[in-house]
C-alpha cells in the first residue's frame, strides 16, 4: 500500500504547512514568466507546466546576495555579516532536473569552503518533486542518465495519477517524512497505480561525448570555433541553468563603507576571469564556450564524479541563436 495525496486536498496541505511555519514555494506562471515562487494557497501553484522558465537554483543561490557590510575607520575595519533570514521552506512541485541540479551543486559549494548561504538554505528546504508526465522538445534528462522520475536531490517524490486527481507519495528522506507527517491527515492509503512517466528520447551518447572531451587533443579542435561562431555571449544559458554556479564577489559603496556582495557570473562574458594585467585566458567566445562544455562534462565530473548538467534543456530553449548543450553534444557525437 502506498499513500496518495489528492489534488483537492492541496489547499488544506498548503494551509497546514504554512500554519506549521513553513514557507510554501512552487511553480507559478507570472504574466510573462514562470518561476518558483512563494504561494499562499494550493490553487496558486501551476503544476501543469513542463518546467518553470527560471530554475530552482536561485532560491538557494540568488542572483545577488549581500555578504557583509564594511566600514573603514582610522585604525580598524568594522564588518557586520549578513546571513540569509532563516526560513523553513517546502518546495512543492519541483521538477526532477531542478532537484537534481541542487544535488549536483552540493559538493561544489561544500568542497574547500562550506558556503553557508547555500547550505543554510539547503538545510531549511524540503524538496517535493513531481515526476514528469510531459516533456517538450528540449528536455534531455535521459541523455544525462537521469530520468523524468529521478530522485536525486529530492525528499519526497510524487507520481501523478490520471486526470490530475493527485499523486502517489514516495517519501525518500527523513526531512521529507517530517514534512509529510504534518499533512498526514490528508493522505489516503491506496493501491492505485500512477501514470507512466513521459518518454524522453536520448539525444546523444554521453559516454562517447565525454571520451571525446577528455582527449587532450580535442582541446584545440577546430570544432570549438565552428560551433561558437554564432554564440553571442549572452549568458542566458548560464543564468537559467540550474547547475551553473559561478559567482563574483564585488564591493559596492565607496572607499570607506559599503556592502560586499556575491553576484552571479558567467563564463560567457568576455570579462570572466580576465586578469588584472589585462590578459584574458579565454579571449574568444569559442574558448569561453569550450570552457562551459568542458567544465560541465570533463572538469566537474573529474573532481566531483558527477556531470554538471541535469538535462533541463533551458540553455537550448532560451538561446537566441539556437545552441546549447544538446546542439553541442549532438555535434560532438558526429565527430
Amino acid at each position: 500500500m502506498t499513500r496518495i495525496l489528492f489534488s483537492d486536498k492541496l489547499d488544506n496541505c498548503v494551509a497546514k504547512w504554512r500554519s506549521a511555519g513553513l514557507t510554501v514555494i512552487g511553480p507559478v506562471q507570472g504574466e510573462s514568466l514562470s518561476s518558483y515562487a512563494t504561494v499562499e494557497k494550493g490553487t496558486d501553484l501551476h503544476l501543469g507546466m513542463v518546467l518553470p522558465d527560471r530554475s530552482l537554483k536561485e532560491l538557494f543561490f540568488p542572483q545577488t546576495e549581500p555578504m557583509l557590510r564594511y566600514t573603514i575607520k582610522k585604525n580598524e575595519i568594522e564588518t557586520a555579516d549578513f546571513t540569509p533570514p532563516s526560513a523553513q521552506r517546502i518546495i512543492f512541485g519541483a521538477r526532477p532536473c531542478d532537484a537534481s541540479g541542487l544535488a549536483i551543486d552540493d559538493p561544489l559549494f561544500g568542497w574547500d569552503y562550506k558556503d553557508e548561504y547555500w547550505f543554510q538554505r539547503r538545510n531549511e528546504s524540503v524538496i517535493v518533486t513531481i515526476a514528469c508526465t510531459k516533456a517538450d522538445d528540449f528536455c534531455l534528462c535521459t541523455s544525462l542518465k537521469l530520468a523524468p522520475d529521478s530522485t536525486k536531490g529530492t525528499d519526497v517524490l510524487l507520481r501523478p495519477l490520471d486526470k490530475n486527481r493527485g499523486w502517489l507519495v514516495e517519501e525518500l528522506t527523513d526531512r521529507g517524512r517530517e514534512a509529510f507527517a504534518i499533512i498526514s491527515e490528508y493522505l489516503q492509503e491506496s493501491s492505485e497505480t500512477a501514470l507512466p512517466t513521459v518518454e524522453v528520447p536520448e539525444k546523444f551518447n554521453l559516454d562517447a561525448c565525454v571520451a571525446w572531451l577528455q582527449n587532450p587533443e580535442n582541446f584545440d579542435s577546430k570544432f570549438w570555433k565552428e560551433i561558437s561562431m554564432r554564440c553571442i555571449g549572452c549568458a542566458s544559458c548560464t543564468y537559467l541553468c540550474p547547475t551553473c554556479h559561478c559567482f563574483d564577489i564585488q564591493d559596492e559603496g565607496d572607499t570607506y563603507s559599503g556592502i560586499r556582495r556575491k553576484n552571479w557570473d558567467s563564463c560567457s562574458f568576455a570579462l570572466f576571469t580576465m586578469h588584472t594585467s589585462g590578459h584574458n585566458p579565454r579571449s574568444t567566445q569559442s574558448a569561453r564556450w569550450r570552457q562551459r562544455i568542458m567544465h560541465k562534462f570533463n572538469y566537474f565530473p573529474g573532481k566531483f564524479s558527477v556531470n554538471s548538467c541535469s538535462g533541463c534543456g533551458r540553455c537550448s530553449r532560451q538561446c537566441p541563436v539556437d545552441m546549447g548543450i544538446t546542439e553541442t553534444l549532438q555535434e560532438i557525437s558526429k565527430l
Partner: protein, 276 residues
Amino acid sequence: MITQEKYRTTVKELLANGTIKMAIGYRPGSTSDRRRPLFIRTSEEADQLVLDSTCITNLSGYLVAEGLLSDEKRVGIFLRPEGIRSINILAAEYQLNVDQIVIFGFDSTGREVRPLQGQTTSDFSALLSEIRENPPLTTKEPLLERIEKMNAKERFDFWQQEFSRCIKCYACRQACPMCYCRRCIVDSNQPQWVNTSSHTLGNFEWNVVRAFHLSGRCVQCGNCDRACPVNIPLRFINQRMAKEVVDGFDHFAGLSPTQEPVLASFKKDDTETFIL
C-alpha cells in the same frame, strides 16, 4: 522557396568568383519554428541556407564581432530593412566600411518572403525613406496601450516591476548590433561606474544606460526583446526612445552610412543651453 533558391545560387556564385569570403544567413534550427545563424563559406554550406518568414534575427552584429572584417575582404549578409539600417548606423559610427558588405535583402509579409533589390546600402535608400514616411503597420500591443495611458508615476512603477526580474545577463546588449563597445561601461571596473549587482537599483541603472545609449541608434529589430530570458518587454522602451528622437530631433536612424549620429553631433546654433 523561389527567393531562397535564387539566393543560394547567388551566394554560391559570389563565393566562387571571390567577391565575398563568407555569407551570413540562416539555417534550420532545432525545432521547426527556429532558425539559427549560418556562416557560409562553401557551396555545401550554401545548400543549408533557408530563407522564410521565421528568419527574424538581425544578423548584422556578427560583422563587428571578433574582427571578421579586419582583413578588408567582403562579407555577404542576409538582412531585413532594419538590418540594413543597422549597417548604415555602424558605418556612420565608423565601425565598418560599407564597401565590404554585400547585402542580400529580404522582407516578409505573413509567411511570404520576397527579395529586396540591391546589394549595397545606397541601393536601399529609397526603400528606407519610404519606411520612414510610412512605417509598416505593426500589430496592436495591448500592453503598449496600457503603458501609454499611464501617468509618470504609474509608468515608473511599471518599469520598476519589470526590471525587478532582470538578472543582468546582458543578453539584450549582446544581441544588439548597436552594442558593439569593446568594453561596455557596466564592465568597466577601474573605477566601477555602474553597480554590477542585479538588485533594483543596479537593474534600473543598467536599463536606463541601455535606453539612453540606444536612443537615436535603435532600429527596432527586436533582437534584445527576443533575447531577454526573463521576457522584459524591452521593445517598448526602445520604440518610445526612437519616437522621442524623431519628434525632438527629426532623426530617423540608419537612413544612410553618412548620416550624422544624433547624440554625437553638435550644432553651433543649437537652441539648447545644456548638452547631455
